[in-house]
Amino acid sequence: MSEPAIELRQAGYSLNGTRLIGPLNLQIERGETLVLLGESGSGKTTTLKLINRLLDPTEGEVVVEGRSTIDWDPVRLRRRIGYVIQEVGLLPHLSVAGNVGLVPRLEKWSSQRRHDRVEELLRLVGLPPGEFRDRQPHELSGGQRQRVGVARALAVDPPILLCDEAFGAVDPVTRADLQGEFKLLAEALSKTVVFVTHDVREALALATRIAVFTHGVVPFIGTVDEFRIDNTAAVAALRELQ
């Protein structure tokens, strides 16, 4: 088997002497969608931030593409990892095209190449470029903003995508649409995806495997089918919520 895209080796994170997560051992294979599922405060987001080095582990190590995150230049590392967060974090002073084309701009792409890429990405996420490229973020619906957020994360074709409650702020119908399209997109582009959610249904809809988080540790990791029949207390409790 080829080396995993991301690996957590005895990784933990403590703040002011309190251990928030860990020690965690996780292997995330290339092309799979691993859903980190758990209640808020269970350490999912912290784990995500260890992967793109918004945080450094206080114990163990996190290995991305064969190299420990502390050996990566954080800027280089993050350009190889698309990041979609709940409030999307679209820059409110830039148009849709400005937001989607931002990382290509940081990477010093020519304006023509940027323009073409923005058009391509907007079509990919189902937003007709003619109608949307010049809009401001506040002129978009919640679902459209999330689509722009996904397009922006894909801009320089990073092999890895991190999503933190990416579809948490939209209505259930739009949410189901986004989930379906996102799954197809991630598979078609063969991205390695780490997706944080507290929603069991979302996890079942998206996951190749599910890692259940409680109090900063992972009592269960397995496929969707294994999740459905597992008898671990934490898993059973989550299934109850469904």
């Binding site: 793109n52 918004l54 954080p74 800027v75 280089r76 590392l77 993050r78 350009r79 990892i81 990041y83 967060i85 709940q86 409030e87 999307v88 974090g89 679209l90 820059l91 409110p92 002073h93 931002l102 990382v103 940081l106 401001q136 506040h138 922006r152 994360a153 991190l162």
Partner: protein, 211 residues
């Protein structure tokens, strides 16, 4: 002599004093922006500096202008004139500029900042491409406050020989002539309104929220 007659008769003098007035305010606010914006950024990034920096700026703001001119007068290299006035005006302008730069930058939505860091922006790119543009309207509001206060205080700077429209006011006071006082006071008031309105327009242009 009526105010109108006085203004017509002394139109060149009034125009020159108005330009001088504007020049003093412009130079002082320019210096205050150059000093205050970096201070505001530092304070926003390193909260431990917030209390001391804002405290100093606050204290400067509370010194009565005539007293500050007097204090600066006693410093050998400063003495009388425009230099004295500019130093005092810079001191008064710092607080609104530092405070609003700090407020503007710390008001940036944490989600936006996190997204920008997450996409691999360096600290400098984050500041230049995200924080400063988003803080710009608030920062400019600080500049506007500083400029309007400056127009007012500059009238008093005529007392230490810095020139400006205050010259007519002090001249009128010593001559006990209301027309001469008004020849300084009316243009000064109009100038304050103009500066306020003009900067307000630029502020709206920079404001991403109204686009």
């Amino acid at each position: 002599m009526s105010l109108f007659d006085y203004l017509v008769q002394h139109r060149v003098d009034v125009a020159l004093r108005t330009l001088q007035h504007l020049g003093l305010v412009g130079v002082s606010v320019g210096i205050a922006v150059t000093l205050g914006v970096p201070f505001g950024i530092i304070v926003a990034r390193h909260l431990q500096f917030r209390t001391p920096v804002l405290a100093v700026a606050n204290v400067l703001q509370t010194i009565p202008s005539l007293a500050l001119f007097g204090l600066l007068l006693a410093v050998p290299v400063i003495g009388l004139g425009a230099r004295n006035a500019i130093i005092a005006l810079v001191a008064y302008s710092l607080l609104p500029i530092i405070r609003n730069t700090y407020a503007g930058i710390s008001g940036v939505d944490p989600a936006v900042r996190e997204a920008a860091q997450g996409m691999g922006m360096t600290d400098w790119q984050l500041l230049r491409m995200v924080e400063l543009p988003l803080a710009a309207p608030v920062m400019l509001a600080g500049v506007r406050v500083a400029a309007v206060i400056g127009v007012g205080i500059t009238t008093i700077a005529a007392a230490i020989g810095a020139g400006g429209l205050g010259v007519f006011i002090f001249r009128g006071l010593s001559m006990v002539d209301n027309s001469v006082i008004m020849a300084g006071a009316v243009p000064a008031a109009l100038l304050a309104l103009l500066v306020d309105g003009g900067l307000h327009l630029i502020e709206r242009k920079l404001d991403w929220r109204v686009r």
